[in-house]
Symmetry: C2
Subunit: 747 residues, 2 copies
Amino acid sequence: MDYKRSTLIEKDYTSIFWINNMNYKIKHAKIHALKTYILLGLLVVCCVSGHGQTTLISEMDKLEWEKVLPGVWKATFGEMGLNALDFADPPKTEAIKELGDSPFPFDKDATYSLQTQRRASIRLPLDETENIYGLGLEFDGINRRGNVYTLKVDHYGGTKGYTHAPVPFYISSRGYGVLINSSQRVKIHVGVGNRKDSKTPEPIDRTTGKNWSARPLSDAVEASVQGKGFEIFIFCGDTPLEAVQRYNLYCGGGVLPPKWGLGFWHRMHTKSTADDVLKEIEDFQINNFPLDVIGLEPGWQSFAYPCSYDWDQTRFPDPKRFVETLDEKGIKVNLWENPYVAPTSTMFNDISPYTGSHTVWLGEVPDYTMPEAQKVLLDHHQKSHLDIGISGYKFDEVDGYDFWLWPDHATFPSGNDAVEIRQLYGLIMQDMLVDHLKKQNKRTYNLIRSSYIGASSKSFVIYSDYYNHEGYVTAISNASMSGVLWTPEIRSAFSAEEWIRRFQTVCFSPMMQLNAWSSGTKPWSFPEVTDMVRDNIQLRKRLLPYLYTAFYSYNQKGIPPFRAMVLENGYDSQGTFTGGKLDDSKNPYAEGKMIEVTDQYMMGPYILVAPVFTGQKERKIVLPEGNWFDFHTGEFVGNNETVTIETKLEQIPLLVKDGAIIPMLPSGVNTNVQNNTAIEVRHYGTKENTYLLYNDDGVSYDYEKGEYSLTELKVEKEKSGKLIGSSIPLNNNKFNYGVITWRWMTK
Amino acid sequence: MDYKRSTLIEKDYTSIFWINNMNYKIKHAKIHALKTYILLGLLVVCCVSGHGQTTLISEMDKLEWEKVLPGVWKATFGEMGLNALDFADPPKTEAIKELGDSPFPFDKDATYSLQTQRRASIRLPLDETENIYGLGLEFDGINRRGNVYTLKVDHYGGTKGYTHAPVPFYISSRGYGVLINSSQRVKIHVGVGNRKDSKTPEPIDRTTGKNWSARPLSDAVEASVQGKGFEIFIFCGDTPLEAVQRYNLYCGGGVLPPKWGLGFWHRMHTKSTADDVLKEIEDFQINNFPLDVIGLEPGWQSFAYPCSYDWDQTRFPDPKRFVETLDEKGIKVNLWENPYVAPTSTMFNDISPYTGSHTVWLGEVPDYTMPEAQKVLLDHHQKSHLDIGISGYKFDEVDGYDFWLWPDHATFPSGNDAVEIRQLYGLIMQDMLVDHLKKQNKRTYNLIRSSYIGASSKSFVIYSDYYNHEGYVTAISNASMSGVLWTPEIRSAFSAEEWIRRFQTVCFSPMMQLNAWSSGTKPWSFPEVTDMVRDNIQLRKRLLPYLYTAFYSYNQKGIPPFRAMVLENGYDSQGTFTGGKLDDSKNPYAEGKMIEVTDQYMMGPYILVAPVFTGQKERKIVLPEGNWFDFHTGEFVGNNETVTIETKLEQIPLLVKDGAIIPMLPSGVNTNVQNNTAIEVRHYGTKENTYLLYNDDGVSYDYEKGEYSLTELKVEKEKSGKLIGSSIPLNNNKFNYGVITWRWMTK
């Protein structure tokens, strides 16, 4: 049998790409010039004189950490390809400094890197009690410990980690975050997998042992990518939220959407004409539903899948007049498109030199890592869409599947790797558009189906064809730990109950959208619940001052406006493993399941949202420490406990923190005209509190130059114990709200 | 925005691993010595003077084909790592030559290779009408066209192509096979994905076009692997079966199992003791069930998951006596194990120097690409198991999941790539054991949970925890086109009906096994159907002369004994696409489904098996050209048509080809004593025919030295039209059966 091995090993020796431990010492060297190549040739030959070996931890390279900002550390390992952070906004360094310093969260000497033949990997320590969150837009579960994720931009539903926004950033319950900055598909082992020389539990005989586990506890996170290296960032913090804040701030802070973006979005059926849209708008008025954005689906284009990006002259004979008409009614227009250019497009000839080897749906694939390609698209879109008042886009199909996107072996004119281009496609399109409109001092709010590292400041919300309501709610939490926004958009429903339940969720999400592109549904499609739907939309719209301020806090401090409960102080995630029951055909490893709460989340500083799913007559809500009150009645509900509430069809359960100060518009106010509007300010519970209410013009970037108003809303107790409220304008008054009516919700 | 691109591209230029089209010319060079490394350094520097580019087909390298045997062509591209064929048996060149020559199946000038930064890829032509089969042990569908497979050894159920035996070998309905020989995970695009300069259909506007497809027709198969190259083999043929035969023969031909391997296998509950086994054997006798092999599950070992491989002295105090006792009863013993070595194993210290960096279930992972590691295992197993009469093993857990196997970045003492070691682990274990026992002139028959290229000659049958009955049946067909055997073993059932239906399937499969490791079920666990179960087992056992001869044909001619209908002449697979119905949440691309027949297959030359699933009162059967007859009654059923039959609980539908000659044992004959046994030879239909009946000692490799009997069974028509049968011994008579009773089934 000897011949087999010797043949094989010889092959390895003769491969120039064979890398031995012994040459790790050269891996940090930057290779720039001819002489270095020759030197490398020499080194490789010298080094591979021995044989392969099993690398022990003690033989791995230690990562070298450099502090880049207070509480932010970086280690670089090898060479990387496309860098996602090149497409993120620059760090908000002042805001990071304001968070103060924070110690490095674990032993630096216990962090390692390793280059194997085809992969670069790292090893970071993990203690027994840590929970790990994040890793992008997942629809299933919140605690990521005990699994392996292959973080690949794709539709959801394949291998774990294949998703629209597979962000290689994780957060520990101990209060730090780790970003593995690579544009390759990061494969990450979160507390599973043990090295033979690592600290591990004793093995257990499965036949007789009671606590045998198919995934024995591991003391590390190990991650790897194909190729030759990456950057690792540690975002420190006293809490998981602080780690998230630092990550978001490092990526430029969170997005502050235009106010209209937080209104009601309705997407038309794909075959709709300009007249159909005008009729639909009338119907909205007749049915007394607000409407802030109309989305046009593929049929606005003369050709789609692949796309022409040119107006269909039959359905939209006068696009300019059409958009103006809607603008006069205070309605923005958003255009669907995908990146694949049809031969019939007026921009086809200009962009074709900058497209990749493979087509998608027979359309060419622009290489938007090239400024030349970006320029063709932006010039075309400026002239055909933006100049006539289009507010933004829905960039579809930037994610997967493999069976219609370009293959991993495709080539692109920039020379960038096809895998990396796919991983960053959505991010680059976000960056391209936002950057372009920012030069015109215009804020925008858009949809996209893929995102990645560094997206928190982008004016884009992710959506999916995945349509599980429970998963949609879980995704709101997970998005908040990955620097992305997510909309659980409603499309259709099997019953009036499902319709209102889904509507309630989407009303309390980053984008309130009905996507009727195929179903042609309207908000009033289920008459039994039409009033309830209207009330929920209305409530969301009334909360605009509160929500807009929460987004400002995302922008300035990196605090996600919608966020996972595990980012909340005093919250017990109640994550436990059930013991798995052995079933020879269904669960042959008797694997347990993580039982955790995934169906509630926070909106802004004070409101806990607990969506109800079809069929639920009651539901449990886990309340963090402190007193919590019913949003509608102000009544006390509980403190640091799990309560069970009976559901009401008309209401989504909203719980409010003690001391909450919640500014609300009156009913029926248009999102565009809020300055000087009289507002109601609610207070819940019995605590004194101070709240900073934010406002600005709602549409431009002038707020970055100080053009905004901040009002301090203060609730104090008189000696009698009676609460009184006051408001103090803090800077300029230009965008102040009008008369304030205080409402004391808790009697 | 310019800075982004220039930064990125610069990085590519400075990477030593950046490969430009211009240096393809060096890719075939073998790199052996110092000077070559320097030369390469120079070449790389010279070549990357331009920029990246989109490679057009005309710019790709043409593959260079070399004829290695009649009808077998090979092209080599770049360098590869582990070579699976090094672990296969040598080609049966004489048998391949006997098949004759066959023309290269498509235009050689339309075959291309391309090296991109991190991947090696090929492109082969595909015509509009071709169906593509194979690609390993899949449970879903038979025609692979229109999908992308990432061929990775893993449990089934993740991304398409993750399976126990993801063999990168495909067969065209036009009658050729393509083997992409790589031990990396081959990613293969089967008629999906178009290049911008390839022959493609015209794009269709989805909004208005009727025939828009999410997967437009493509004129190629493209495949790629991470790294720097692979070999491609074309196995020509006049029919798909001939291509399969050439592939199997190139891998050493098919396995000829020992006769006992084709008997009834029963696996004990994991906690069983030696006494429990003896009691179980008694119960088999009492219940009048045959028993040929007893499988012992983890509990025979002193420690399992990870494994000690040492007998548990409490449950098996005298293994030698135990195995002898069973041997006296004509029962073989098969031992379960997985490859991960427990620290308590008596072989731990010896093998530990040859294990990888990571543990599995805290057991060390031997690097069996090293002969040193193989020697430790074989020495131990010879002494502890084989010397006392153990017949073989069930090698479990050689497949996945990622969350318990070693990571892709693990290191191994041989220096071989962790991904390749995983891909080949099962294959190498098969090779190691069969090779070892062959030196002792002992045939064996075993179970394994992963396999790969080159496994047809190995005495192993694959099984899975996946337990869908329909999928299990589909897998029988797919296995036959990938050089592997598959058992749809029965474990447990929800009802007596399911029990008998699953039992019927497993009785007509390569291994008839009840795996009660966890359920503790017995063949008589559902008393209502016990007689039916017994009758089905009996029927399978009676068919041994027929089945054993079919395996001989696998061995000598590469014809799979159980095989897909698409390998049958005159069979219409009836594969059609349904038009997909658009559903905005469930099927937003309105994707159609491939409707094809997956629930019937061939056993030996004449018998079509059509398993019935729980709840089916009737089922359709697609009959190829020619007259087909009912196995039990001999009555005519149909010809080249789809018939619907009413099912009977006690019978699995078996259809027999016109002219079939089927030799059968009498009831109750032990698998070990068949020489000189009187046999019944059935004839079906009206055709004259000749059949070669094979027999040998059933246990050794002496047949390779001519120690076997071949008997010509001939059916001829007298002038009166009456059929008469005759038998002529063709070589030595040592293993002839006894008196032949002809039975004319069709009146």
